[in-house]
């Protein structure tokens, strides 16, 4: 499959500007493939996605229903149900960060005021070796590491906000309990030491805090000597939760903490979700259509909030959305997905100003804009093709206005079409000889520009 084209990582990471160009990306997804087995065959939901997310960068993954954008994001955290899902190939390299040694997380010149720097590779101490792919950064492949290591990353280094806050929050637990879970899972050591408890009694408490205690341990924890210590830990925990909620500009966090999800409005619930996701200062925030269920006025404020928190903490964001007009305002880079593959990747501004792939052009033209004659929206005819055992062809050729004979039998590579890194997977921009086609079968370039 040529579109997967696992280009060497060195040539891939070029961010928004020259400043980011020499940096190592936080996440490099290389040739990710996720399949689902069904009665009718194997559904190639994600079929060779190669994407980088740089430090502090916002990458938008745009696509229609069923294009595989959510599956891509979820497979980064291995959240897809398996079976029927199968991660059929590819890598998702994650290079986590740590508090900056110079300023201990307070923010200094070295870390660009974010308080976090890349963690050096344990094998070579930053010199570059085979383990870290010559990047010198501690690197793990999210798709293959053991489940318990991934558990340490989920919610801690990589956090996710889901589409419907009404469904993602547990209706039976208070907001406090739901945010406490994050701290208990990932910050139990800090909580215990902050409460001023020594390591000895701490061990039991830590287990209790993490809800891992056995039955008799829980009973022991409710006896007087430990009970008072637990209360001290709880007080510290409350402080942390209030802080996390206050960060998302929730008024009166103490009161919100004690309420249940049904008592809050949609916008508030989404703020709670954001507070929960950002509680552990993740390096990457995956936002899966976080504002689709909200009204425009609330949406605008949630987007402001994500942007503001991101700027302050230097978090990278993978923003998944079907709404192109929204992405334009928030993303540094955009990746357009169609039928499990990337159609176009590049700086968001360039994609909107000068879209290369016919699909991106179609999507942009389909959005009603002022002054457009009524009834003359440029609809993309047809529907998304079935993804069961797809043939090697451009996935868009059945609906493409420029489709030619070659499009039905050759898979276009996702190659750079406009330097430095505006890529598009379309034969319009390929030479016949390079893809092994006859020139007369290639789509007509003059009609496209």
């Amino acid at each position: 499959m040529s579109a997967t084209d696992p280009t060497s990582p060195a040539s891939m990471h070029s961010g928004t500007g020259p400043a980011l160009a020499e940096r190592v990306p936080l996440v490099s997804v290389e040739g990710l493939r996720v399949h689902f087995t069904s009665k009718r065959g194997v559904v190639h939901a994600v079929d060779g996605v190669t994407l980088d997310i740089g430090d502090g960068e916002t990458v938008a993954l745009v696509g229609e229903t069923g294009s595989g954008k959510s599956v891509t994001a979820k497979s980064l955290l291995r959240l897809i149900p398996r079976p029927p899902g199968v991660i059929a190939g590819g890598k998702a390299l994650f290079r986590s960060k740590m508090p900056c040694p110079g300023c201990r997380g307070a923010g200094c010149v070295d870390c660009g005021q974010t308080g976090r720097v890349g963690e050096p590779c344990t094998a070579c101490a930053g010199a570059g070796c085979g383990v870290c792919g010559q990047s010198g950064r501690s690197t793990v492949d999210l798709l293959t590491i053991p489940e318990d290591e991934l558990r340490d990353i989920r919610g801690n280094r990589i956090a996710m906000i889901f589409q419907d806050p009404g469904k993602a929050l547990n209706p039976a637990l208070t907001i406090r309990a739901q945010i406490a879970e994050v701290f208990a899972e990932h910050r139990s050591d800090e909580l215990v030491s902050e409460a001023g408890l020594d390591d000895e009694s701490g061990r039991l408490l830590r287990r209790a805090v993490r809800n891992r205690g056995r039955f008799f341990e829980r009973r022991l924890g409710s006896l007087p000597p430990l009970r008072s210590q637990r209360r001290r830990v709880d007080a510290v925990l409350d402080g942390r939760i209030v802080e996390a909620l206050a960060d998302t500009r929730i008024p009166n966090p103490v009161k919100i903490m004690r309420s249940y999800p049904h008592e809050l409005s949609g916008g508030m619930k989404q703020r709670v979700m954001i507070a929960q996701a950002l509680a552990c200062d993740p390096d990457l925030l995956i936002a899966d259509e976080p504002t689709t269920a909200l009204d425009v006025t609330i949406q605008a404020r949630i987007l402001d909030l994500i942007g503001e928190l991101q700027a302050r903490r230097g978090t990278s964001v993978l923003y998944i959305s079907h709404d192109l007009s929204l992405v334009r305002g928030i993303a540094d880079r955009a990746a357009v997905m169609y039928a499990g593959m990337l159609a176009e990747v590049g700086p968001a501004e360039q994609i909107f100003a000068d879209p290369l792939h016919p699909y991106t052009r179609g999507l942009l033209a389909a959005i009603p804009t002022p002054g457009m004659g009524r009834g003359r929206l440029a609809a993309i005819e047809g529907t998304v093709p079935e993804l069961i055992d797809p043939p090697p062809a451009c996935r868009f050729h059945t609906r493409c206005p420029h489709a030619a004979t070659a499009c039905a039998r050759t898979d276009p590579p996702l190659a750079i079409r406009q330097p430095p890194d505006h890529r598009a997977a379309c034969l319009l921009y390929d030479d016949a000889a390079e893809v092994g086609e006859r020139p007369e079968d290639m789509p007509d370039r003059s009609a496209a520009s």
Partner: protein, 457 residues
Amino acid sequence: MTALGVTSTAGPSSQVADYVISVRGVRKHFPIKEGVLQRVTGHVRAVDDVSFDVPRGKTVGLVGESGCGKSTLGRVISGLTDATEGGVYFRLSHAAKDRLDELLAIPEAERSAAEGRELAEIDRAHRIDALGKDRWREYRRNCQVVFQDAFASLNPRHLVKDIIGRPLRIHHEASGTQLTERIVDLLESVGLGSQHLYRFPHQFSGGQRQRISIARAVALDPEFIVLDEPTSALDVSVQAQILNLLHDLQEQRGLTYLFISHDLNVVEHMSDRIIVMYLGQIAETGPSEQIFAAARHPYTEALLEANPAVEGGARAVTRLKGSVPDPARPPQGCRFHTRCPVVTSQCGWEVDDAVTEAELRDSGLDGLSGVSRQSAFSADLTFETEAQAAAFVAQLQAQETPEPLAAALTELRQTGTDVSVRFQPVVPVRLERVGPDQLSACLLHTGQQPAAEAVAR
């Protein structure tokens, strides 16, 4: 009998009515029931005194945030639920509409017997909840609805043929092979074909299902279709197909649409006139271009600013604070004043606002034990301790309290554990003309002086 009487007896059968639908003072209140006895403890005012006209052959767009009552209004108009108050009139001529407005302007008690009879006459001929059986039937076939969720609105156990053929059968339009032919025609007019006749809804994609819904809606050749968020469950490329289809059908069949949506881009594209609703009332209404080019109401402005656009530069942004208030207790004065960026002290501040304001602070409302409320603008709050009462007063006098709220406070006095809070009474803001054909309900543009009026009373 006046000239009007003649037109009204011609009634719904006449094809020359200038207004397909006229809504007059419609309210829809849903009771809130509590306790074992299900006693009614309040009402959710989903739609609260809304009036507008839908001219023949035009598209009227209805926009607003979720919970503003736009879908409820659509249901009332299509006759799916009854209005609590007010009426929906079908096929009024210019003259009849003007006369109706004149008659409705007279308070019921002052109406003469002749005027009362005339009104009843209009009601019988045009008002949908007073129509006779035959006219009601005719209204039902001339007013159709396309719902948001095309999956939920198509019976999963019926074939496409049954779904689209049902209205034709109910109204005895066709049967047998003729029916099948009509159905195929309809399918073709919405871009489907005879191969889809014997399939179930689940075999179609979202866009195709919406096409089936539309085919069903136009089956009886209606005059008017309520489109309740017809594209919000669809992707942009499919949305464009459906919007184009709706436009083509309107051209071919001379349809009139009420287009309900929360997507401003779509509404702007589709509508001739736009109605912006907020909390059950109309905030602003006018021709589409005018609303988008020169919105007068701060709420419309905020909506437009929050709306992401594919083209154009970044806009100066003012974000609305807070969320939509509880429609069971809508704010006094202007309903938007709790979130308005340009709010003044005259906009309807009330005791609830003071309490909400204090609630946002950490300890503003601690120890509140009782409230005795004389009106929305005047109440005595009782706290458990004097210190807590003092804290409440201090919160309201603090810097963070919005200036207009502080200015509207006429009295904030603490006596022991009691705090009395008084505001200047204000009457609800009315929709008033702010430009040619443009109405807005905002004090800033209409020059209403409700405070002075209220004080005079």
